[in-house]
Symmetry: C2
Subunit: 226 residues, 2 copies
């Protein structure tokens, strides 16, 4: 009989297969409509609607009405972080997971985590930033150093502008496949944006995987090489 935040209430929301599938789909970062999510979860539209209402009510998902469409998205990075953490144990204890299919391999290599890059490449990036002192943890929080600011600006990422936003700029997000941290926050989002707009990689249509082009891969490795 202990108090503290009500774990079971939010865990139960994730505990239904249909809802879990929806949340997984939303981990892609793009907002989706109810019909898309129904398809993704493999349930009928009414069922999906009911689930989405619960997710909204529970605070895990936010909705934005646009015309006759309603776009659903994760409520925030903290929710994404929780999903990753749950994925971590699911991965660890999963008795199944027999053959790690090809798409699974791609997911391990690079994937979208809500709005930033995760997987081996995401971790490699984060490691590099820390190792080179481009990102430093001062007493208060993780932030780019002066050198880091230049590094990002060389990629056309305006650190100053990001700093203004109320959204946290840097955050460490634990990776379920590699079990190490990668860069989250608005800076992480900007990095992913850079990677895709420069054509270094493209999003897989049917999964969270991020597949690098050969040249994009080289460019990215070059970035971490010096």
């Amino acid at each position: 009989m202990r108090e503290g935040p009500d774990l079971s209430r939010v865990a139960a929301l994730v505990g239904d297969p249909a809802r879990a599938n929806m949340l997984s789909a939303l981990m892609g970062g793009t907002a989706l409509t109810a019909s898309e999510l129904a398809l993704e979860a493999g349930v009928s539209l009414p069922t999906a609607s009911s689930h989405l209402a619960k997710l909204c009510d529970g605070g895990l998902v936010r909705v934005a009405a646009q015309g006759r469409h309603r776009y659903f998205a994760l409520a925030g990075t903290q929710v994404a972080l929780m999903i990753e953490a749950i994925s971590g144990v699911a991965e660890a204890v999963g008795p199944q997971r027999t053959r790690p299919g090809p798409r699974d391999k791609a997911m391990r290599e690079a994937r979208v985590c809500y709005d930033h890059l995760a997987g081996e490449r995401g971790v490699a990036l984060f490691d590099h930033l820390l190792a080179r002192g481009l990102l430093v943890e001062d007493a208060e929080r993780l932030a780019p150093s002066d050198a880091g600011r230049h590094w990002f600006e060389a990629l056309d990422i305006d650190v100053g502008a990001l700093r203004q936003a109320r959204r946290p700029m840097c955050r460490a997000c634990l990776d379920w496949s590699v079990r190490r941290s990668h860069l989250s926050g608005s800076l992480g989002a900007a990095m992913l944006d850079t990677i895709t707009t420069r054509g270094w990689a493209r999003r897989d249509k049917n999964s969270r995987a991020v597949v690098f082009t050969p040249t994009g891969r080289r460019a990215f490795e070059q970035l971490l090489a010096d």
Copy 2:
């Protein structure tokens, strides 16, 4: 219809109030018997037994038989990390949480997270270690520097011995109350051990709270002051 680890299966395990209470109790780090957990969860013994069987089966909890007792404990730090992450969103979205009672305040200040120190003090410790360069993140992982090794050894913590163990020594664990990282892993466990055996603080009987004695508090702050 996406694959990936089966979120809902493990989330559903946490999604039942009785099981969630048990897991919360086990976050204290000490192994508990089935009867104790039944009491903690507010259910009858048969019910608790059934739940525990499911938790074991699901890989969230491990059991050790000792005579006619059976001691249950969390399966590992990764599970603890997940519980903290879920607590985080529960805390954030929780519409209730009206008055943060006195015990709640103590929990925010310092508490046990599985086997190490969490809460404001845990975060303060972690910040200090990073800020002073006692803990550094090299390319591979977080580890104490030479200076850090001396710092720990001054507290009678044998870093070398911990390094031998197969259990990861350093790990950053996200704090649900402060939303920043604190020290986990065997080194974190050793720190908590030091704090309690030196009489700086004692465990609250009925919660995860860690209450510092006046002198212990001073000693701890001294440790982070230089």
